[in-house]
């Protein structure tokens, strides 16, 4: 069955062929139109996201949020955009002009590139490449690059510290993220995003809940949102890498971050929550877009919920959590999933699902036990009586004795 997008594409193809264009050229024009349509749709959605974010954070903080312009303050983001556009554009003293101006393009552009592989419906997707999952990782790396460029080119120490922190965070959290991404790949026997969605007759979040959780946590870290917002910690380094940016250049960073959050939610829905799957989607493929965005906005809400509920981590806690907890856990999950997949190669689907779920539950239980033991030991360690500063106790007593003699 056709959906509106395919129908429009076919109509344009017929029209252009009728005007005497060659079929190769028509395909090229259609691809450009498709890219333009997806990018515009996502960018317009981005303007709405500003409103969603502000309204929901207001509810979390017991405020009203934007409520003056239009119904429920819906016109507020447009006013924000106009304000950003007419603000003065400042180039800081000693900044690297070209790199400084190039940097804000990266965060938004790379996020837009991710939408190329997210299947929106059975018939609507940008490109069904067979390496979809790896493509996501590669594009994420390019996004990091923009932040480093911004931090370095601003000629500001806080910006540079922010960039350093970003690199440490992104390079570290990429490791468990890639490992967690491999688990849906094993379950679906493919790296293509469309095949992964096709394989989810039962959502992968049922078969691999821990992998889904790891992916969510590492995604939040890659986003640089609280509790991982060390990159722009206001109380420590003012605004981090985008401290010097004004007007629309700052706007690009801001829009890039918001859109990245939604994109990550869409990826999470695609990889673990069944993507466009839902009732009646075979009859009317356009419903898939609706289902995908419902799931994506649910995950987006969870990300915001986390953001406004948790305090910021310290940098050593952030790195320890990644290397000593998430990475080993992800590796164990990967090994177990791979072994189960081979052992149960010919088994019934229900057995396969139940054993995967069971394995996840056992691993979760063991992890919690290890954590409880660790917490107990750590509490004892912190609770122990410790010597003051760098002085050893006898030395301190000697000093006190000397003071008394004087």
């Amino acid at each position: 069955m056709g959906d509106p997008i395919t129908l429009i594409a076919e109509f344009i193809r017929g029209l252009l062929t009728g005007w005497g264009f060659s079929s190769g050229l028509v395909t090229l024009i259609l691809k450009f139109l498709g890219v333009g349509a997806v990018a515009s749709f996502v960018l317009v959605l981005d303007i709405l996201l500003v409103w969603v974010e502000r309204k929901i954070v207001a509810r979390f903080q017991d405020r009203l949020g934007p409520n003056r312009l239009g119904p429920f303050g819906l016109i507020q983001p447009i006013a924000d955009v106009i304000k950003l556009l007419i603000k003065e554009d400042i180039l800081p003293e000693g900044a690297d002009k070209v790199v400084y101006n190039l940097a804000p393009i990266f965060p938004l552009a790379t996020v837009l590139l991710l939408w190329a592989v997210i299947p929106m419906a059975p018939t609507i997707l940008g490109s069904d490449v067979n390496i979809g999952v790896l493509y996501i990782v590669a594009i994420g790396d390019l996004g990091t690059l923009g932040i480093i460029m911004a931090g370095w080119a601003s000629n500001n120490k806080y910006a540079l510290i922010g960039a350093f922190r970003t690199v440490a965070q992104m390079v570290s959290y990429e490791v468990p993220m890639v490992i967690a991404l491999l688990i849906p790949v094993i379950l679906a026997h493919s790296m293509g995003m469309q095949s992964i969605v096709d394989a989810q007759s039962v959502w992968f979040v049922v078969m691999a809940p821990l992998a889904a959780l790891i992916f969510l946590i590492t995604s939040i870290a890659e986003l640089g949102r609280a509790p991982f917002d060390l990159t722009e910690a206001e109380s420590e380094i003012v605004a981090g890498f985008h401290i010097e940016y004004t007007g629309m250049k700052f706007g690009l960073f801001y829009a890039g971050e918001l859109l990245h959050a939604l994109t990550v939610s869409a990826l999470m829905s695609t990889l673990f929550l069944g993507g466009w799957r839902g009732p009646f989607v075979e009859q009317a493929p356009i419903l898939g877009v609706v289902y995908l965005f419902i799931k994506a906005f649910f995950v987006y809400y969870v990300i915001m919920w986390v953001r406004y509920s948790f305090p910021r981590l310290r940098i050593d806690q952030m790195l320890n959590f990644c290397w000593k907890f998430l990475t080993p856990l992800a590796l164990v999950l990967l090994i177990v999933t791979a072994i189960l997949d081979k052992v149960l190669a010919g088994a019934a689907t229900s057995v396969y699902i139940l054993s995967n779920l069971g394995a996840n539950l056992v691993i979760a239980w063991v992890t919690v036990q290890i954590l409880v033991t660790y917490a107990k030991r750590e509490r004892q360690r912190v609770g122990q009586e410790r010597e003051i500063a760098s002085f050893r106790k006898p030395e301190v007593e000697e000093l006190i004795a000397q003071e008394v003699v004087k």
Binding site: D96, I131, V137, A138, T144, W152, L160
Partner: protein, 169 residues
């Protein structure tokens, strides 16, 4: 000229130009950024050869890991960026000699190659090149030995890094 030739020529010019900028740029961070453009150009070549897996791996490893760590290292050595001395040292003639010999050798090898006129072979329809690559890497008849050797090498490097960073108590 087919569209793929035009894309190839543009990519080749950009890649080579960026490569020249890498060695001539005064500012080390700029050199690193030009290097990223060069590496990205190589990734585009892989795409033109329908080797999508290699293209993405090129971006992940060379841009995502190596280039970013390089920039990181350069940023930590701040004074290097203000260096205004000569860009070549006394051994420049040796480097030039080796480069010319290498370039000449490669050119000579390519000039005797007969593959220029053959067209790119079409992949058999329905075959998943990624799956074939994966199976070839672990198949005893194909590349299992180089693959395992590379794994052992990387493992050794990993253990070495841990040993260096190990804090003995």
């Amino acid at each position: 000229m087919t569209p793929i030739t035009i894309v190839f020529l543009i990519t080749a010019i950009v890649t080579l130009g960026a490569a020249v900028m890498v060695v001539t740029a005064r500012n080390l961070v700029h050199a690193a950024l030009w290097l990223i453009l060069t590496l990205f150009g190589v990734a585009v070549f892989y795409v033109l050869l329908s080797a999508s897996f290699l293209a993405v791996v090129q971006v992940v490893i060379y841009i995502g890991a190596i280039a970013i760590l390089m920039i990181f290292a350069i940023m930590l050595t701040r004074r290097v960026m203000q260096d205004t001395g000569p860009t070549v040292n006394q051994g420049w003639w040796l480097a030039a000699l080796i480069s010319i010999a290498l370039f000449g050798g490669l050119s000579w090898m390519l000039s005797t190659w007969i593959g220029f006129d053959t067209n790119m072979p079409q992949l058999s329809q329905g075959a998943d090149s990624l799956q074939q690559l994966g199976q070839a890497l672990v198949s005893p008849n194909a590349y299992i030995l180089p693959f395992e050797l590379a794994s052992v090498l990387l493992l050794a490097a990993l253990i070495g890094a841990i040993m260096i960073a190990w804090e003995r108590k």
